[in-house]
């Protein structure tokens, strides 16, 4: 029988090999285009719109976004199989947001799963619960962002309320093979002991989750905003100090979780 899922199309903007901070082992990250959130600090602003767009990088105009088939992606992912075997790595879907393209993600994840490739996703959690239900059987590790527990502040900085995200966290905690909660630590947004403490508390309340990773804010993507003709709203924000991160880590650990700085 012809494997019809290999011809399913999706829209991505990058495939990055030898990624070592996005799930276990050496991984190939597939960056999908389109995201329901608009986080002010986003280091991949070109991922947010589903539509293809142009971005100026080092003086050169490039098109961001291309339509590919599952077969195209899998053949690229397969190239590093030997390194996944040696490291326990595999494929990670990131973005953007993989739930924005549920059919493509389903085809890609199930294809990888059938080939015994380890799969992971990085998600903002903002999607209909049915989408997660359908995709979960093919995902080994879910890395879910909990950015803030306060709904209003969440909406202000990301463009969306966090109610759905919290509901999905409960669902994922119950059904995902492995769930890791991740929090980008953004000065002026969530970098106080109190705010991180609440996230840790929420994470612990999920019952099945043991790991909470704190990802320090970085500016590596800031040039892209100008390249897209957009304003970078975080330009006055400084990267958190190492000591600050250590302090917040201790808050996480105090909640009985296994904390970690970085992915």
């Amino acid at each position: 029988m012809e494997n019809s899922r290999l011809s399913v199309q999706g829209r991505i903007f990058n495939i990055q090999r030898y990624s070592i901070h996005d799930g276990p082992g050496i991984r190939t990250i597939v960056f999908l285009k389109g995201c329901p959130l608009r986080c002010r600090w986003c280091c991949n602003p070109e991922s947010q719109k589903y539509d293809t767009e142009t971005m100026v990088t080092a003086g050169k105009t490039e098109t961001v976004g291309r339509d590919v088939t599952v077969e195209d992606v899998i053949s690229e992912v397969e190239k590093d199989r030997v390194y996944y075997l040696r490291s326990g790595g595999g494929m990670t879907l990131s973005g953007g947001e993989f739930t924005v393209q549920p059919e493509f993600s389903l085809a890609l994840l199930s294809e990888a799963h059938d080939r015994a490739l380890n799969t992971a996703v990085e998600t903002c959690g903002f999607a209909a619960s049915e989408v997660f239900e359908k995709l979960l059987p093919y995902i080994d590790t879910v890395m879910l962002d909990i950015k803030h527990t306060d709904s209003e502040k969440h909406r202000l900085y990301t463009g969306r309320d966090n109610t759905v995200i919290k509901e999905n966290a409960v669902l994922l905690a119950k059904k995902a093979r492995k769930l890791i909660i991740r929090t980008p630590v953004i000065p002026t947004f969530n970098d106080t002991r109190e705010e991180i403490g609440k996230i840790a508390e929420f994470t612990a309340s999920l019952g099945t989750v043991s790991e909470l990773h704190l990802l320090p804010y970085h500016r590596i993507g800031s040039d892209k905003y100008a390249g897209l003709g957009r304003e970078y709203m975080m330009k006055d924000i400084k990267v958190p100090e190492k000591e600050k991160m250590e302090e917040l880590l201790s808050v996480v650990n105090a909640a009985g979780l296994k904390g970690q700085i970085g992915g």
Binding site: Q16, Y18, I20, K79, D80, V82, Y83, L85, S87
Partner: protein
């Protein structure tokens, strides 16, 4: 097996020894040259092997000896630390010509006093017509010389210097001592039959072995006496005790077998340094130190006679001493081997001859020693195979993460079958170690002539466009004009024709030099520790070793692959450009001006050549030459056309990005060098085998190479080793590794070299180390042979350029070895900085 993996603290002695080493600029000393010449004058007419042994003896009896402060392991080849002796029997003219510039040159400067200059000047008078270089000249064909002069290849290493590149039978000296070797030679002498056709040669060889070994023993005893005298005068009780112990040990070894780990360390060191007094050859490699030293360590540990800390201190002392030796090369070679490196390769881990893992506590302690001493020597390597203990590789990765550029990683799974394919037995192949940069061989049985020449694979490509003409002279094959070539196959066969022609000349040059060493500089001391010299009654240089090879290394594979791929695509598949247009674009350097520094350098060379031809040099003439070189006379429209061509080349797939079509192409191109070489033989009865690595010659030899069809501009560096061309691998380390593994590493059995540079963030934390080890393992699963890493930030290197004084001990791995970054030439520093940083956040 359970290993002792505790972190062993560094003794206070080590930083003191290290800083004493770097107090002053290294200097050139004349003692050896004077003593050698005295001896040679008194032995004229005797067999050469006897003259060599007597000269060695005369040197060791009279050369000044010194025990430096705080040393536990003694034996110094020079009075001042990190200095060098001179070896006029190989060549001397270059040093005399560089007397006034050697202290100020950019790569590897040496101080030389006026007195030394005048002493050497006197000594040199004797050597005219007597050197290996001059005899090699006589043996070399005119065509080979021309190709050498035109920098198609350079066999300069052994043309100017001794060969080195050997690992001797350290374990034999450790167990039996030189007295054991002397007895062996004496027994052999007894068995010689006077009716044998080569009785005379064998007799003199064996006698020379005995003289040399006795000289080594006597030399050690001089240290014993000196240590006793110093102990007598020493007021510090602790140091006094140390000197008494040194005196006792030097009276015992290397004459006799070592009874303790300390004695084994001292015995090892005498062997290592004396080999480098006998000949100027570099890459005298200790090899599997963790294997042959371990029994002594284990015995002492089990008996409670030594602690891990004390043993570590002794190992660290050896590591320091390996940096005390030095060598002065001519200015051009110094750029090719930059970093004062002697390439004393020492390797840990891997299989034993029975195919079982041989990693032991000492393997781990070797890693610790490199961390403690943190200097370029030894060129520290580890062997990796499917059965390597994971914790050993993680420990090695920790060393890599320090940014020292060590260790280099080698793949048993490729090297063992590759050596078997060259005729080694399975047991010998499993017991391999690495010589110099990346060259595998079986210790104590091999004369590998590993660094036989640098062969620039781009120069024959230039000859295809020029129909064999270089600088107005026909030096290659007069192949068909490119304008008449109708297919890519025609173009490729012209390249193969040029390559085959120059490979033949390369062999001619190497064999001429090889024969000259055999006739003028056989080495009885070295030969006493290489099988089967004593049994055969002849020296290593005359074919006494069990395995004999000549291994010249090709480089530029990435540029050749990208360049020929560009021609195939743009000229023949897509028909966008003609070969004629490519030819013009290359002649015009794609419309780009020559870099100012390069233009100045070239001007200097042209003016010098004009002066030698009797032209009167005026400032105006210099300006004219400079303008001619610097200015690019292309019109605007020509330039625009070239820009378009460059952009089209740029947009093609490149080697290093895991694109099957290009990588397969690279594999085929490498065969154009590696396969024809296999058919040639050397005077010692062995075959040629190719390597693919440049040491650091890709920079200076790039300066002799015009623009190439991969878009590389004239006189810029050539790609390093089998690594992708700088900046062209854009898909990260696994993609680059997959591309490189597409080459046939089995046939390049003299070694391949894959350099990768990491930003420290890629190795941070346990997960970073795990991923790194998985990367190495994955590359090796795909049958790559060697990998080495730089872990530094671009900022660090920039700052080191601005403030060299702050970074005196900053170590960077440059193609096959580690060097002090601040001692490298500007061009090489830039090359290191420009290599793609495999960043990952």
């Amino acid at each position: 097996m359970k290993f002792y993996t505790e972190k062993i603290a560094k003794s206070d002695r080590i930083p003191k020894l290290v800083s004493a080493l770097f107090e002053k600029m290294p200097q050139i000393e004349a003692d050896r040259a004077v003593l050698l010449t005295e001896s040679y004058k008194s032995t004229e007419g005797e067999p050469i092997i006897t003259r060599r042994a007597k000269a060695f003896e005369h040197i060791l009896r009279n050369i000044p000896i010194t025990i430096r402060d705080n040393e536990l392991v003694v034996g110094s080849a020079t009075k001042a630390p990190r200095s060098c002796q001179v070896f006029p029997e190989y060549s001397y003219e270059w040093l005399e010509a560089e007397f006034d510039t050697v202290a100020t040159r950019s790569a590897d400067p040496f101080y030389i006093s006026e007195e030394t200059k005048s002493v050497l000047h006197e000594v040199y008078k004797y050597w005219k017509g007597k050197t290996t270089r001059e005899l090699a000249d006589a043996y070399m064909s005119a065509e080979a010389k021309t190709a050498f002069e035109h920098s198609v290849f350079t066999p300069g290493n052994y043309y100017f210097n001794g060969v080195g590149h050997v690992t001797v039978d350290y374990p034999k000296v450790l167990s039996a001592g030189y007295s054991g070797i002397i007895s062996e030679a004496e027994e052999r002498l007894d068995k010689l039959s006077q009716g044998d056709p080569d009785y005379g040669e064998q007799y003199h060889f064996l006698t020379a072995v005995i003289i040399s070994c006795k000289a080594a023993v006597h030399y050690a005893k001089r240290y014993s006496v000196l240590a006793a005298e110093m102990a007598e005068k020493e007021s510090d009780a602790k140091r006094k005790q140390e000197l008494v112990e040194i005196s006792r040990i030097c009276a015992k070894v290397p004459e006799n077998g070592a009874g303790s780990f300390y004695e084994a360390c001292q015995s090892f060191w005498f062997v290592q340094m004396l080999l480098q007094t006998e000949s100027s050859g570099h890459s005298i490699s200790p090899g599997r130190f963790d294997q042959y030293m371990y029994p002594y360590l284990k015995k002492d540990l089990d008996a409670g006679k030594i602690t891990y800390e004390k043993a570590q201190e002794l190992i660290d002392c050896i590591w320091v001493k390996l940096n005390d030796l030095n060598k002065c090369r001519d200015a051009e070679s110094a750029e090719g081997f930059a970093g004062y490196s002697l390439f004393q390769n020492l390797i840990a881990g891997g299989q034993n001859k029975f195919g079982r893992d041989a990693t032991n506590d000492l393997s781990f302690m070797c890693i610790t020693a490199t961390e403690h001493v943190f200097l370029p020597q030894p060129s520290f390597s580890v062997r990796v195979w499917n059965g390597s203990p994971h914790e050993f590789l993680i420990r090695a990765a920790e060393l890599t993460a320090t940014g020292i550029g060590l260790p280099a990683y080698y793949n048993d799974e490729v090297i063992i079958p590759a050596l078997q394919n060259r005729g080694l037995t399975l047991e010998d192949a499993r017991d391999y170690n690495i010589i110099g940069c990346v060259e595998p061989q079986k210790a104590a049985k091999t004369d590998g002539w590993h660094d036989a020449a640098f062969f620039n694979m781009l120069r024959p490509l230039e000859m295809v466009f020029s129909e064999g003409v270089d600088k107005g002279e026909l030096i290659g094959r007069k192949t068909k004009p490119v304008s008449e070539m109708k297919t890519f196959d025609e173009f490729l066969s012209a390249y193969k024709e040029q390559m085959n022609y120059f490979i033949g000349l390369l062999v001619n040059a190497d064999n001429a030099i090889d024969r000259a060493h055999g006739e003028r500089c056989p080495l009885p001391f070295q030969s006493s520790m290489v099988d089967d010299c004593i049994a055969r009654g002849k020296s290593v240089q005359q074919g006494g070793a069990v395995y004999n090879f000549t291994g010249p290394q090709g480089f530029g594979i990435a540029n050749i692959a990208d360049g020929l791929y560009a021609i195939k695509k743009l000229v023949f598949d897509e028909k966008k450009y003609t070969l004629q247009y490519f030819k013009k674009a290359l002649e015009d350097n794609f419309g780009k001006p020559t870099d100012q520094k390069m233009a100045e350098k070239l001007t200097g060379k042209v003016v010098k050549a004009l002066a030698e031809n009797g032209r009167e040099i005026s400032e105006e003439l210099i300006r004219c030459v400079y303008d001619e070189i610097k200015t690019n006379k292309c019109s605007e429209s020509e330039r625009a056309g070239y820009e378009k061509l460059l952009a089209d080349i740029e947009s093609l797939d490149k080697y290093g990005n895991d694109v099957d079509e290009v990588d397969t192409f690279a594999r085929e191109m490498a065969y154009i060098y590696t396969k024809p070489l296999e058919n040639y033989r050397n005077p010692r009865g062995g075959i040629f085998q190719a390597g693919l690595y440049p040491v650091s010659a890709n920079v200076p030899l790039g300066e002799h190479t015009g623009a190439t069809p991969d878009g590389r501009l004239a006189f810029t560096p050539i790609a390093d080793g089998v690594s992708p061309a700088a900046g062209r691998d854009k898909k990260g380390p696994t993609a680059a590794a997959n591309s490189v593994s597409a080459l046939d590493h089995f046939i390049a059995s003299n070694g391949t070299l894959f350099n990768m540079k990491f930003h420290p963030s890629a190795l941070s934390g346990r997960s970073g180390l795990e991923s790194f080890v998985a990367l190495v393992r994955g590359y090796f699963d795909r049958k790559g042979s060697h990998m080495q890493f730089n872990v530094v930030s671009r900022e660090t290197l920039r700052d080191a350029q601005k403030h060299p004084e702050k970074y005196r001990s900053l170590v960077v791995r440059v193609a096959g070895y580690s060097a002090l970054f601040t001692t490298l030439s500007k061009g090489l520093q830039e090359d290191i900085i420009n290599r793609t940083e495999q960043q990952s956040f």
